[in-house]
C-alpha cells in the first residue's frame, strides 16, 4: 500500500491544488514556457511527502482540515520543487525522475527564475495570512528555506572534505532535509489550531524522520542501481559528498586511503572500486543501525501523542520511513 493510501489522503486533491498554484495565477499565460515546465515537473511524480506530513500534522488540532491546510500542503511541495530545480543546476544533473531536468529544457538562467517564481508565488499566497497568530505559516518559506540554503552551503564547503565530523554531517542533513519536513508537521498542526506543545513534539518527530530519510537516501547511492536512482550509482561520492556511510568507512584504516584519494578528477573505475570497498566494509550496516536509532527516538516522541486518534498516522509514517513499506 502506498503511503498516501495508508494515511487515507487523497493525493489527487493535493496534486490539483499544487497545479492550481500555477494554472490559477492570472499573471502566468496558460501556454507559457514557465507554466508548462512547472506542470511537467509536478506531474513527473514525486511522493508528495511534505504535503502528506503537513496534512498529518493538521490532524492533531481541534479544527477540521479545510482549504487552508490543502493550500499550505501545496505550498510546501512548491517550495520543495523549487529547491529541486536549483539543486539540479548546482549538481549538474541532466535528469530528474528519469526525464530531462528543467534547466536542460529551458536553459540555466530561465530555470533559476522559474524556481524563483515558485517561491515568490508561495510568498504571494501566504502574505494573505496576516497577524501574529498566523506568523507560523511563514516558517515554510522563510526559516525552512534559509536552512535549506545553509545545508547546501555546508555541503559545498565540505566537498571532498574527509575530515568532516559526524556532527557536521548531521547538521548539514538537518538543514538540507529534516527541517522542512519538521516544519511541515508543525505548520499543519498550528493551521488546525493545535497547542504549541503538540506542534513542538510533531516538529521534533518530523526532524527525526527527516534525518532518517536523508541517511537512507545517502545509503541508496551504494545500494541501488543507476536505473532505480535515475543517476549513476556512486554519484554522491563522485561529487565529493561525504555521507554517513563514507564517514563510517573512513574509520577502517585498510580502506581509508583509497577513499581519501577520491577527488574531482577520479575516474568512474576508481569510484566503482571505492563503492565496492565501502559496501564490503560494514559501513552500510552501521549506517542502517544509526538510522534505526533515530527512528527509535521518533517513536518515543510519537508515543507522547498516543492519546490522539491521529497517533496511528505517526506509526504509519514510522513504518514508511523505516523502509519496510517503501
Amino acid at each position: 500500500m502506498k503511503l498516501h493510501e495508508a494515511l487515507h489522503i487523497d493525493l489527487n486533491e493535493i496534486n490539483r491544488e499544487i497545479e492550481n498554484l500555477v494554472t490559477r495565477d492570472k499573471d502566468v499565460p496558460k501556454h507559457s514556457q514557465l507554466a508548462q515546465s512547472i506542470l511537467e515537473l509536478v506531474r513527473s511524480g514525486g511522493k508528495r511527502l511534505r504535503p502528506l506530513l503537513l496534512i498529518v500534522g493538521s490532524r492533531f488540532g481541534p479544527s477540521a482540515p479545510g482549504r487552508r491546510v490543502l493550500q499550505l500542503a501545496a505550498a510546501a511541495e512548491f517550495i520543495h520543487a523549487a529547491s529541486l530545480i536549483h539543486d539540479d543546476i548546482i549538481d549538474g544533473a541532466e535528469l530528474r525522475r528519469g526525464e530531462a531536468a528543467l534547466h536542460m529544457k529551458t536553459g540555466v538562467l530561465s530555470a533559476v527564475h522559474i524556481g524563483n517564481y515558485m517561491s515568490s508565488r508561495v510568498i504571494e499566497l501566504l502574505s494573505k495570512y496576516t497577524g501574529d497568530k498566523n506568523r507560523y505559516v511563514h516558517d515554510l518559506s522563510a526559516v525552512a528555506t534559509a536552512q535549506l540554503c545553509l545545508g547546501e552551503y555546508q555541503q559545498l564547503a565540505h566537498a571532498y572534505d574527509y575530515s568532516l565530523t559526524i556532527e557536521d554531517y548531521l547538521e548539514k542533513s538537518r538543514n538540507k532535509t529534516a527541517l522542512l519536513m519538521a516544519t511541515c508537521l508543525r505548520v499543519g498542526a498550528l493551521a488546525a489550531e493545535s497547542s504549541e506543545e503538540v506542534a513542538g513534539i510533531l516538529y521534533r518527530f518530523g526532524e527525526a524522520l527527516g534525518m532518517s530519510f536523508q541517511i537512507q537516501d545517502d545509503l541508496l547511492d551504494f545500494t541501488q542501481s543507476a536505473d532505480v536512482l535515475g543517476k549513476p550509482a556512486g554519484s554522491d561520492l563522485q561529487h565529493g559528498q561525504v555521507t554517513l556511510p563514507v564517514l563510517f568507512a573512513l574509520e577502517d584504516e585498510s580502506i581509508a586511503p583509497a577513499i581519501r584519494a577520491i577527488g574531482p578528477s577520479s575516474s568512474p573505475e576508481e569510484i566503482t572500486h571505492v563503492l565496492e570497498l565501502i559496501s564490503g566494509s560494514g559501513a552500510l550496516a552501521r549506517t542502517e543501525q544509526f538510522s534505526r536509532e533515530i527512528l527509535f527516538e521518533a517513536e518515543r516522541l510519537a508515543k507522547q501523542l498516543s492519546g490522539y486518534p491521529a497517533y496511528s498516522d505517526l506509526l504509519t509514517l514510522l513504518e514508511y520511513f523505516s523502509g519496510r513499506d517503501r
Binding site: L109, H113, H138, T145, A146
Partner: protein, 149 residues
C-alpha cells in the same frame, strides 16, 4: 546622502546573516540612494528606516545574484545559493522587524519580476519605487485614521 543610515543598515544586515552563508554585501551608497527620499519624506523613526533600507538592499542583491547565473561559470553555484539565501533572509528580516504588510504589498511585483526574467527580459528592476508607494499609502492611511479619532 545619509552615510550613517547606510553604514548602520549594512552593520545590521551583516549581523543578521548566517556566517555559514559567508555572503559579502556589496551595494554602493549611490545604489541605496533611490530609496532615501521616501525614507526621509515619510516621518519614519530611524530604526524603521534601517529596516526598510535593509529590505531594499537584500532584494536588490538577491535579484542581482540570480541575474548572474551563467552556465559553466565558476561562481554559478555560489550565485544560485546566495540569491536563494538572500530571498529567504528578506522574509526572515521582514518577519523579525514586523514588515509583513510590505512583503504582501511587494509580493505580486517580485513574482512578476521572476516571470519576466524567466522569459529573458532583464530590464532593470528597482524596488524603491514600489516601496515609496507603499510608504505613501501607509502615511495616507495613518492620516485618515488620526482624523477619524
Amino acid at each position: 546622502m545619509n552615510n550613517q543610515l547606510i553604514t548602520d543598515t549594512f552593520r545590521l544586515l551583516e549581523a543578521e546573516m548566517s556566517p555559514i552563508a559567508g555572503i559579502q554585501l556589496h551595494l554602493s551608497p549611490a545604489e541605496c540612494e533611490p530609496l532615501l527620499p521616501a525614507l526621509d519624506g515619510n516621518d519614519l523613526q530611524y530604526e524603521r528606516k534601517v529596516h526598510l533600507l535593509g529590505l531594499y538592499i537584500i532584494l536588490t542583491l538577491a535579484a542581482r545574484r540570480h541575474q548572474e547565473c551563467i552556465p559553466h561559470h565558476p561562481d554559478l553555484t555560489r550565485n544560485i545559493l546566495d540569491g536563494d539565501y538572500l530571498y529567504s533572509l528578506y522574509l526572515q528580516f521582514a518577519i523579525k522587524y514586523r514588515e509583513l504588510d510590505l512583503v504582501a504589498y511587494l509580493a505580486p511585483s517580485i513574482k512578476k519580476l521572476q516571470i519576466r526574467r524567466s522569459n529573458g527580459d532583464f530590464a532593470e528592476h528597482n524596488p524603491a519605487a514600489e516601496m515609496s508607494e507603499y510608504l505613501l499609502q501607509e502615511r495616507r492611511q495613518r492620516g485618515r485614521a488620526s482624523k477619524a479619532i
